[in-house]
Amino acid sequence: MIIPHGKYYYLFYKKHHAKEGDHPIGMTTYAPPKPGGAFLLNSNAIDAWQVLGEFAYIKMLITVILDKRNEVLQASGHLKVGHGPISHELRNIKYARKFFRLTKSLKVFVKAFMNVNSMSLVAYPVGQHNDHFNAGGESLENKITFIIKGVTGRGRGGSLFDNGYVFALLDWQHTTRTARKFYVTHAQEMGLGPIQSSGAQRILDHFFENGGRNGRSWKRLFNKYMSNS
């Protein structure tokens, strides 16, 4: 049963397995469906589309620029701008920097940063709303737009010329940490061979214990990753 209400729908359904004492009818809410949505990007995708890596890097660049500006503002007696989200992003940059120190690779650095962010694909003009992040967290929201030619529709809109389907990619903080995500992202750098479809934690533990100094270094990064929520 679907009941529309303002900005969303109530959907009622009979539960498959209602637990004892639970109501047999379940309820969820859905917004009017639109193309796109949030997702966790495997940061190895930057090998296929370097622009995604650059996109993440620019967020870091802007963060350090804004941080520097805040230093200048504070020195001249003005209030800081966006202090909360900038601090949060600086923490993520600091985390990613540890990977750069270990590997001297900008790719690993960018991947580590992307690993603590999630993305959204937006292919429609969003209605008026306020941003909120999980658990009251703070984050800067990064946005880049692309155009696809020869596709029906306008998508998000905002093309320089008069044709094309525009979509935006955004990224923001993501607090859920999993061993699998860390493993898939850094398997190559850790020298763990082809990615296996299961047993990420077991593979990592084995590497941390038997990987010598390198294993211990990666273990520290892994622990930092898991605690960086």
Partner: protein, 539 residues
Amino acid sequence: MSRRCLCCGPIAAQASRIDKYWLSSEKTPGVLAHNDRHTMVLCCNCLGQQNFECAMDFMDRVLDKVPACVIKEHPWVLALRPLYNNHTKGILPPSHDIEVQCCIACSLSITIPEGVRSSLLPIQAPLAIVGNNDTNISNVMMNDDVDDDDDDASYNPTINELNLESNSTNSEYDSYNTDDDDDADVDLPILLPLSKRKRAIYEGIGRMKNLPATEDDTMAFLTGYQHCATKPPNYKHLVQHTLQKAQRHKKAGRKIEYTAYSNVYEGAFYIPSHNLVIGNYTHNDRLFVDVHGLAPSAADGSPSVPHMVITKADADAVHDYHMKYNTKPKLIQKDMFDIFQLHDVPMPEDRSITRSWDVAHCTFPQTTRLDEVNKLNGSTHVEPEILANCLVYTWKNVHPDADVVLFDGGFGLEDYVTMKTVGPKLLAARMQSTLSKSISDSDVKTMHSNLSLLAGRKGFEVTRTSGTAGFTSPQSHADLLFVLHDNDSLLPNKAGVCTSSLCIKFLLIMSISHNNYLSLLCSRCLFDNSARKVLLPIL
């Protein structure tokens, strides 16, 4: 006539072809124990039937969860509310069946005017990723035995093909469960008659989630940011050059890509509380990146700033407004910006490496109180006279001397006591160009095609209820029904028990989906997390 309950029988809510999904279930124990003695709620619109007890369960939940004002005119609620009141008092239901104008299955679809069709397209199979489509992962649910040439419409095996006895009731599925006393794994046939499209989608998702890395440092070029400027390109020159070229092509009878530049308002980022429009002038050869900090901040106590993207319809309306009143967009003039150089800015990867950036900055005063603006959350429409009065930053007035442009917003109209300690908000920071100046159209297409698979619920955003998707409407009703039908990661997997067979160690559940598949869920005594789900075709 068989008595088939909509919600615990084999009929999905919103299913348009009820008979298509029918599996007899009268002899099924447990949840399907309704029989002719039960009072049924009969729908005059779709001829659906619902057991009275089930209807009361739904009513109970609806009244508990939905605000009264929303359902005060809902025909199904209105019809059954008196009976529900009696039911809660312990009064037995009438012995005869109850007729209603619409039921739980069709109460939404009945409100969609004839001719309104979904505006959404099904998500398509992904394009191959060039140079990185190699993975050893094979965790995608697949069945290679299924004929590759089959598609949704054409693949329609009979029940015999599934090695089941036809024309039987629940015993059809006893063949799955011949050895009730055997502890061994149940050898269920893994039949996945997915279409080529859906199989390709599953494969694509698996591939994207497990993309392996290459050995090259493909990001080494980012060191260029240590010294390169990111000033904007000359958009006026680009537009002029492109359109002149298009004219020449047109005269030569060749196919032309563009005829004009776009309306500067379309797709622009609009901040109503500050009357500011930050234009979006997307071109794959001229990339730029925006960063926003509009969420509420606990660190400085600043509130969130509502924002939206201007639709084509609104952009056209404001264009017409300008034409009618002979006005022009209020472009932000260069002298409104404060331009300065930030020295010794560290690079993200290494604080010891620094550089200078040219930054243009402007603080925009607040023009409307936030509580006034927030009343319009969810709206996708802005009046043209409001937009016409906004300050606009777009390719026509892009600041040519800045690497980064910062748009701050003050909170002058908010009367918070603490406002003296709340600094301006970062409305936007725009890196005016990127180091890699362009991306090929084919790369964009491939990227979009593959990322769409991961986005939201199989390519559709349905869970953000903050207003980004606008308000519900007949069009969105049609869109929702389309997505529920096409998408197998949504409600269908939770809803609608069809038939169940309780065995000694297994419970077989045939469930009906909103989409075109029947789901067969086999869970071992309901306790084992290794439940397997098999999709069967429509019978």
